[in-house]
Amino acid sequence: MNTFEELILIFIAASITNNFVLTYFLGICPFIGVSNSIDSSIGLGAATTFVMTIAATVTWIIYHYLLAPYNLVFLQYVVFIIVIASLVQFVEMVIRKISPPLYRALGIYLPLITTNCAILGLTLFMVLRNYTFLESVVFGLGAGVGFTLALVIMAGIREELAFCDIPEPLKGSGITLIIAGMLALAFMGFGGIISG
């Protein structure tokens, strides 16, 4: 059994010290493409956190009760990506039915999530590290929160950037990548919170 403390450590590691975007480079496409305004970043972040948590839960169950016992591990990439794609569809339908306001807020971001490598990366790391069920759920939640955090910070900086005088060749993706590098440096400073 896990102690509560271990779960908190996994959460902090996934969201801050080993931030998915800034240390594993997962989910860079939306990070660079969508992070233009704070509002849309929060929307995409919330939707991603939601899908990540559910994806971690569902893929854990499928991996440990279906793939591993029947020796089907070689199918895991194909199965995982199908699970994630259908999960996104499903979540979209459920939200539309249950909470139309939430659907209007998240609607356009949901389909984008399928191609977000952070989700598939999350499920792969979960298998690689042999997390238990509870650990996987917390890991999914932490990764989502970390993704949102990075996205929102980036959006905040980019909104200011519009007024800056940037060298011509660096405009657009160049300067975004350099800022991401500086953010990664800043997040490295949190490394001392936990060891390993």
Partner: protein
């Protein structure tokens, strides 16, 4: 025809111009060799999935094309992953989960959607090969710069002088972002200069 191939190398280079497929690009390029292997794996998946998708494009209903493309891509990625595991175990271990992550590499689905699903097998092959080689070259450049400054070697060969202090930052995530950002800037600058020269002629 030849244009389909060449455009991926420079004018529409997936890394420097389209800024696609960032996660493998940044994650594995701590060494030039890893960049090369990742590039080759992506090239293989890109070419084979592109040809299959182009061959079956008339039988795929529009509504479900994305899931079908994804499954085809995932199948080839599994093949590439097992090939690396069997023949180049060390490299496969170093690349870790980034080989399976080729499945969600936006370049591959992007080319499938934008090119292979609309053109014949031969042209799709050239397009995929161009994009894949352009991607590989970009990864080798990025990997070489980071390896040179981060460990003083290129492809494992010592290049820097003996007293050279390694820039640890270059092999850390922050170095990856900053190097790629600057390389994109250099690429844009060169591109502009070429354009000017072409206009003058």
């Amino acid at each position: 025809m030849i244009k389909d191939f060449v455009k991926g190398l420079w004018r529409e280079n997936p890394v420097f111009v389209q800024v696609l497929g960032m996660c493998p690009t940044l994650a594995v390029t701590t060494k030039a060799l890893f960049g090369l292997s990742m590039g080759m794996a992506t090239l293989f998946v890109l070419v084979s999935s592109g040809m299959v998708i182009s061959a079956i494009r008339r039988f795929v209903p529009r509504q479900v094309r994305i899931p079908i493309f994804t499954v085809i891509i995932a199948t080839f990625v599994t093949a590439a992953d097992y090939f690396l595991k069997a023949n180049f175990y060390e490299i496969s271990k170093a690349l870790g989960p980034y080989v399976p992550l080729i499945v969600v590499n936006c370049i591959i689905l992007g080319r499938a959607e934008a090119f292979a699903s609309k053109h014949g097998v031969a042209r799709s092959f050239l397009d995929a090969a161009g994009m894949g080689i352009g991607f590989t070259l970009a990864l080798i450049v990025l990997g070489s710069v980071r390896e040179l400054l981060g460990s003083g070697t290129v492809f494992g060969y010592r290049v820097m002088w003996a007293g050279f202090t390694d820039w640890i930052i270059m092999v850390l995530p922050a170095g990856a972002f900053i190097t790629l950002g600057l390389l994109v800037g250099v690429f844009n600058m060169m591109d502009k200069r070429f354009m000017k020269r072409a206009e003058e002629k």
